[in-house]
Amino acid sequence: MIPRIFIYITLILIAAALLPPAITAYMRTSKKPQPRIHFIQDMDNQGKFRTQHENPLFDDNRAMRPPVDGAVMRGEIVDSEHLTSGTLNGTWATSFPSQITVNREFLQRGRERFDIYCQSCHGLAGYGDGIVDQVARDLLVNSRLGKGTSWVPPRNLHELTIHQQVVGEIFNTISVGKNNMPALESQITVEDRWAIVAWVRALQRSQNAELTDIPESDRDNLETVNLIPSNNEEEEADEE
């Protein structure tokens, strides 16, 4: 017979051999807060500073130094008041700046940017009913979950007062904010802000379209559409 001791050693070895695969399986399936394991470090971490890395030499730990007050970035246009601040000789500009051509592509761009930056508060169609607004209203009435929420609802962009604003004023609202509307200057480029203004205009027009806005060839189609179907349904229901 094989001496007991050999059998025990074999069993222990087999058991021990199962441990690394078990650890591997765990490593491959779990999420772990421990730093990644890099066995061979090579030059993974070099003594240089990359975007948004830390530099302990500075008080605020930023490797990227904030620009000195008043510094002007390369490419930052300063010579066109119309383009960068939406004003002309101290009053709101009533037209788009000459550097910009408003065409279909530009409107599409505006639509995309509106959906990224404004939609969450103002809603897709601009009625001031975005998801964040809806959530914030709930938080407002529920003081336990609200944790100090105070909320001024975003404006309905189809209100008459905003209809009557000229493009320069809307551009300014996006750039530097207004009352409770945050400034979005740092997030959106100048051109994109104008594109959004164009899309806001398009949205406003779409909700107040007149018959003359529709190409003649399509007007017949429109008039056959029943505009108040809900009333008819009610009447039918009453008759029954």
């Binding site: 695969p21 491959r28 730093p35 990644r36 066995f39 070099q46 948004q52 730990n61 964040v132 979005l184």
Partner: protein, 219 residues
């Protein structure tokens, strides 16, 4: 005298077959263990550091439906996808839940003008050059490289980010191509929504030919 003592016991006959078995199984074991255990899929994937503020993508990008570019607004034009400055959070949190314990650090750092010490999740070695805009502008969506971030309470690394992984896609990018409008739509799956032919058309449209030259990623 008992001569039995000087003869190999009978079980010693099993030594040779055992040795052969062991010498085939052990290398196999070692190779498999190294392949699976030391692969970036085990050492790197799933890295989920604890963040200083319990910021949830599942709430902001999922529930609130915010577009990735609202916060990571440089991703389409720059190499880096920039973690947003505190100001971006303050757009809403100036008012929303402003007394929440979870947001205390946000308000403190904002008042002091400091950065929030977010812990980096994805981190390529410093000798690798990566460029977000090059991918985004060609129709490679966030989900191909970051997974379903909009369902993550805490962000973790979903892909190995190894050289083999980069090259795999550079050799055959077509399964990952989508229309530019769906870049940040993480639920969109080009393999389901598009036919192979449509994906091929997309590739031609943007004349995509990802480079495999060493100098593309090591410069």
């Amino acid at each position: 005298m008992n001569r039995q003592h000087y003869v190999f016991p009978k079980w010693s006959n099993m030594l040779l077959p055992t040795l052969i078995a062991v010498s085939t199984v052990v290398p196999l074991y070692v190779v498999l263990l190294a392949a699976y255990g030391f692969s970036p899929k085990a050492t790197d994937v799933g890295y989920q550091p604890e963040q200083p503020i319990p910021f949830s993508h599942a709430v902001h990008a999922g529930q609130l439906g915010m577009d990735c570019r609202y916060c990571h607004n440089t991703v389409e034009v720059a190499a880096k996808a920039a973690i947003p400055p505190t100001q971006t959070c303050m757009n809403c949190h100036e008012k929303i839940k402003k007394d929440s314990d979870q947001l205390q650090l946000l308000h403190e750092t904002y008042q002091r003008g400091e950065s929030i010490p977010w812990v980096r999740v994805h981190d390529l070695p410093d000798y690798v050059y990566f460029h977000h805009a090059a991918h985004i502008s060609r129709g490679v969506g966030c989900v191909s490289c970051h997974g379903r971030v909009d369902q993550m309470e805490v962000v973790y690394q979903h892909e190995p980010l190894s050289m083999a992984w980069c090259l795999n896609c550079h050799r055959n990018p077509e399964p990952h191509l989508r229309p530019l409008g769906e870049i940040t739509n993480l639920a969109y799956d080009p393999m389901v929504e598009l036919t192979a032919d449509e994906r091929h058309q997309l590739r031609k449209l943007h004349s995509i030919d990802p480079s495999q030259d060493c100098s593309t990623c090591h410069r």
